[in-house]
């Protein structure tokens, strides 16, 4: 395709030269010049490199979409740089205007480059393979040989040989031509065009997903039910054009969650299998309840929504009774794992307790052991569960009306309960154990352990468009890379008797056959192709070959 590529590259230079002439540079001219520059191959290369470069910061600086916690930590560590980084959108590079500018420019360039080629291609597709140049000897890859057949025989044979895998130039009735013109590999350009167009398809599908889709996450305790409703989510990330009416009205219950752990070997303590038996209804409260095994890599589709199992943890069941013996708090309490050992942190708030509010925070050990006197968990599965809680009383700040996280205890106005010796009181509980709080405040009971799963729930419209686009693009790409377009001309002429340069003084009439190949991709072993071609033209037996002039 190199012959066509020279076009767009030369043009900008020409118009550039023209624009230097003063006075002629009106606005239209400038616009046209800019457009041509933008659509040149060189610009495409530069823009592609720019895109690659623009993608780098997002892999170095934590991104709020991927690693929100990393962003918070980074901001704490670099208070001075933070405002600057925020202004430059460095915490959400891939949604930033400057990143969009790069890919939009590239898209415009792509359209400007591809659409004209589309028209050219349509026209070229119907055209006949071009006639043979007057002098085949001028082409870079050509050869010739003598044949004893008549030119008509040679050409007929060439038509037959080339016709198998090439398009042949038609010869009108009554026309006499002394050559065969053949062409193959026109689909290469089609592949190229399809590839570039599918880039647009993928972009469109991707945009659909991020505009109309949403991602939400929620922790669901084993045995409880989730109803698909905005208020039920722990976190919710809608796209710019998302509307709640899109949400499917399903609900599901985690009937049973189970995991398996490696108990020996180098990776002991690694979970190998997570499975949640789920019962769900497409329309909550109506219709049959269906069953599904929700597993990692095995999401559940409900309507246009997908539910993924992405995490798990422990929810100790805790009951708090107040000083009057009433239950002030009870239920499975979600504790969040702090690391791979599943040492988990959690909070209990019992604002209704009388005479005074009760707050608890502390850690959960799935498999408790005292190693050198230090309490720790030695295995992530709950083989020997243990709670260690600190207790607080007083104002937990729940009346102030300010929203509070359920995972954080506001201790600003609360007092920590102490032991008689002045050390902070720590409640160490095994399942089934109860401990009294001092001062008649009440008691805390560790009833048992439940597990929770974290599910990701999302709608991503356009996924199939993206997938279709990428697959189409790959097909086009393969066509573009592996089809080798080629033009071949075979010319046969009678040479007058005695005019042989073989010097053998033969008197027979001979036919000079010229063969030329034009490799339009510039990437083939053209000499080999030419040799192979000549061999099949001459047939396996016929005479000796003559060297390339």
């Amino acid at each position: 395709m190199s012959d066509e590529n020279k076009g767009p590259q030369r043009r900008p230079a020409e118009s550039g030269a023209r624009s230097v002439k003063a006075g002629e540079l009106d606005l239209r001219e400038l616009a046209r010049w800019t457009w041509r520059q933008l659509c040149s191959m060189r610009t495409a290369i530069v823009l592609l490199l720019l895109l690659a470069l623009a993608a780098v910061p997002g892999s170095v600086i934590p991104q709020s979409g991927v690693n929100a916690q990393g962003v918070t930590q980074w901001k704490q560590a670099h208070p001075k740089l933070t405002p600057l980084y925020e202004r430059l959108d460095l915490f959400s590079v891939y949604g930033s205007p400057w990143f969009a500018a790069v890919y939009l420019l590239l898209t415009i360039s792509l359209v400007g480059c591809i659409v004209p080629r589309l028209f050219v291609y349509f026209r070229a597709f119907r055209a006949q393979p071009p006639a043979a140049p007057a002098n085949l000897g001028r082409l870079p890859a050509q050869t010739s040989y003598d044949s004893e057949q008549t030119p008509e025989e040679v050409l007929a044979h060439a038509r037959q040989v080339l016709g198998r895998r090439h398009r042949l130039r038609k010869v009108g009735d009554g026309d006499t031509v002394d050559y065969v013109a053949a062409e193959r590999g026109q689909l290469r350009e089609a592949g190229n065009l399809i590839f570039h167009l599918s880039v647009l398809i993928v972009l469109a599908g991707f945009a659909m997903g991020s505009l109309f889709g949403y991602q939400g996450g929620v922790i669901v305790v084993d045995g409880t039910t989730f109803t698909n409703n905005l208020t039920q989510y722990d976190d919710f990330n809608p796209g710019g054009l998302f509307h709640t009416s899109q949400m499917n009205p399903f609900c599901f219950t985690i009937d049973k969650y189970a995991d398996q752990w490696l108990t020996s070997g180098p990776r002991a303590g690694m979970a190998t299998k997570f499975k949640a038996d789920v019962g769900y209804q497409d329309d909550c409260g109506k219709g049959p309840t269906k069953k599904y095994d929700l597993e990692v890599n095995h999401p559940l589709d409900i309507g246009s929504t997908e539910v993924f199992l992405i995490g798990h943890g422990y929810a100790p069941v805790i009951t708090v009774r107040d000083g009057q013996g009433h239950v002030a708090y009870t239920g499975p309490t979600v504790f969040l794992p702090q690391d791979g050992t599943f040492l988990s942190y959690g909070v209990v708030k019992a604002p209704a307790a009388k005479p005074s509010e009760i707050g608890l925070d502390g850690v959960f050990y799935p498999t408790y052991a005292a190693v050198h006197g230090n309490p720790m968990t030695v295995f992530p599965n709950d083989l020997n569960p243990r709670l260690a809680l600190f207790a607080y009383t007083g104002n937990l700040g729940l009346d102030s009306g300010a929203p509070q996280s359920v995972y954080v205890l506001d201790k600003a106005h609360a007092t920590q309960l102490k032991q008689p010796n002045g050390m902070p009181l720590r409640l160490d509980l095994k399942p089934g154990q109860t401990m009294r709080l001092p001062g008649g405040l009440g008691s805390v009971k560790f009833d048992g352990v439940k597990k929770w799963v974290r599910v990701q729930i999302s709608q991503t419209p356009g996924t199939h468009i993206v997938l279709g686009g990428v697959v189409l693009g790959l097909i086009g790409l393969c066509g573009s890379l592996f089809i080798r377009p080629r033009r071949i001309w075979v010319r046969a002429r009678r040479r007058p008797a005695g005019d042989s340069d073989g010097g053998q003084g033969d008197t027979m009439e001979r036919t000079v056959v010229e063969v030329a190949v034009l490799d339009r991709s510039g990437n083939s072993e053209i000499a080999e192709i030419l040799d192979g071609l000549v061999e099949s033209l001459r047939g396996p037996t016929k005479g000796q070959k003559k060297g390339t002039p």
Binding site: I45, V66, G217, F308, Y345, L474
Partner: protein, 357 residues
């Protein structure tokens, strides 16, 4: 055989393969050093073809004629010696590749349940270097890669050494998120593409080296190139080989990074594309190689600039493999922290729960 036996067998096989590759490297180095002798240029051209043919036909037992006194036969003897060492190198490489494969196979058998050997950096490295060797052997005849032997074998020896000394890990099963057949497809294609890109990159390096040497030689009044560089194919042929290897690798990479990867990611954590560092760098690699292909089709960018772009692509590729795994633990793909795929937040964040994956 028990799993532990398989594990030991694997370690021994990989070690043995490393040693045989090293012998192959030595043999190729001897081959090259013989080419360095004066008057070598003329001889080498012919010996190149010979090695190709001999190896192509399966390579019989090496025959070295006894040295004779007269000049031409002395020359031929050296030619034959060069061919002998080259052929020996190839045979050793093939042998090493077989042993290498045994190592990979045993590694997979050692895990319970049995699985593909690419659960961590060590396994990915030994698999990746195996693929480089297989691609090299497969393309050896088609592209006449004899000039590339010491570079490829040297590269693989280095990789295996790093794998054994630095990256080695005991066999372990895959985390749940990693056991998906889409992952298998994803990793196979990524590894094949990585192997091919590496071969293409080696070709591009040789292209640049030869280009410089030729320019220098031309500056020094058209002196002819000698030694191994004379044996390397011409610049145009190198450029073409490089293009064809890259043209093979690019669609495979496209499939790995933009099709099978996202499908797996979608199943594993709900988003097919999340701009995770590993994904970002895979994308960067893809874009840079797209640049390379554009450059190849643009007059004035062919050759040198294209070769530089190819090397830039290779650098991003290897950075993604080495750098991101080591320096960035927030990546979902990080091998450094098994099980990060399925954990909840490490600390209780303020406001609401966010996911750290």
């Amino acid at each position: 055989m028990t799993n532990a036996d398989w594990g030991t067998l694997s370690d021994h096989a990989i070690g043995a393969a490393g040693i045989i590759y090293f012998l192959a490297l030595l043999s190729h180095l001897i081959e090259w050093s013989m080419l360095r002798q004066p008057k070598g240029a003329a001889v080498t051209e012919r010996s190149t073809e010979r090695v190709g043919q001999l190896v192509g036909s399966g390579g019989g037992a090496p025959v070295a004629e006894p040295p004779r006194e007269d000049e031409p036969s002395e020359r031929r003897t050296r030619e034959e010696k060069v061919a002998f060492w080259g052929r020996l190198g190839i045979l050793l490489t093939i042998l090493a590749a077989v042993v290498h494969f045994v190592g990979l196979f045993a590694r997979g058998m050692a895990a319970d349940p049995n699985r593909v050997p690419w659960g961590n950096m060590y396994e990915f490295t030994i698999t990746g270097s195996f693929i480089v060797i297989v691609m090299y052997l497969a393309l050896y005849k088609k592209f006449r890669l004899d000039w590339m032997s010491p570079l490829v074998v040297g590269f693989v020896v280095t990789m295996l050494m790093v794998a054994m000394l630095v990256l080695h890990e005991a066999v372990a099963p895959l985390t749940d998120a990693l056991s998906s057949y889409w992952l298998v497809i994803h990793v196979i294609s990524a590894a094949i593409a990585t192997g091919a890109f590496t071969l293409g990159g080696i070709t591009s390096i040789v292209y640049l080296v030869k280009l410089r040497a030729e320019r220098k030689a031309a500056a020094a009044d058209g002196a002819e190139l000698t030694g191994w560089l004379a044996r390397v194919p011409g610049l145009e042929a190198l450029d073409r080989v490089s293009y064809r290897v890259h043209a093979f690798a690019f669609p495979v990479w496209t499939f790995a990074v933009l099709i099978s990867g996202p499908i797996w990611a979608h199943q594993a954590w709900s988003r097919y594309w999340n701009w995770d560092p590993k994904e970002v760098w895979a994308f960067i690699t893809w874009v840079v190689y797209a640049c390379y292909l554009h450059a190849r089709a643009t007059a004035g960018w062919k050759g040198r600039n294209a070769a530089i772009l190819a090397l830039l692509g290779l650098a991003t590729l290897w950075f993604n493999f080495i750098g991101i795994n080591y320096f960035n633990s927030s990546s979902q793909h990080s091998y450094a922290e098994p099980g990060v795929h399925v954990t909840a937040p490490h600390q209780a964040p303020l406001g609401s729960v966010t996911v750290t994956r």
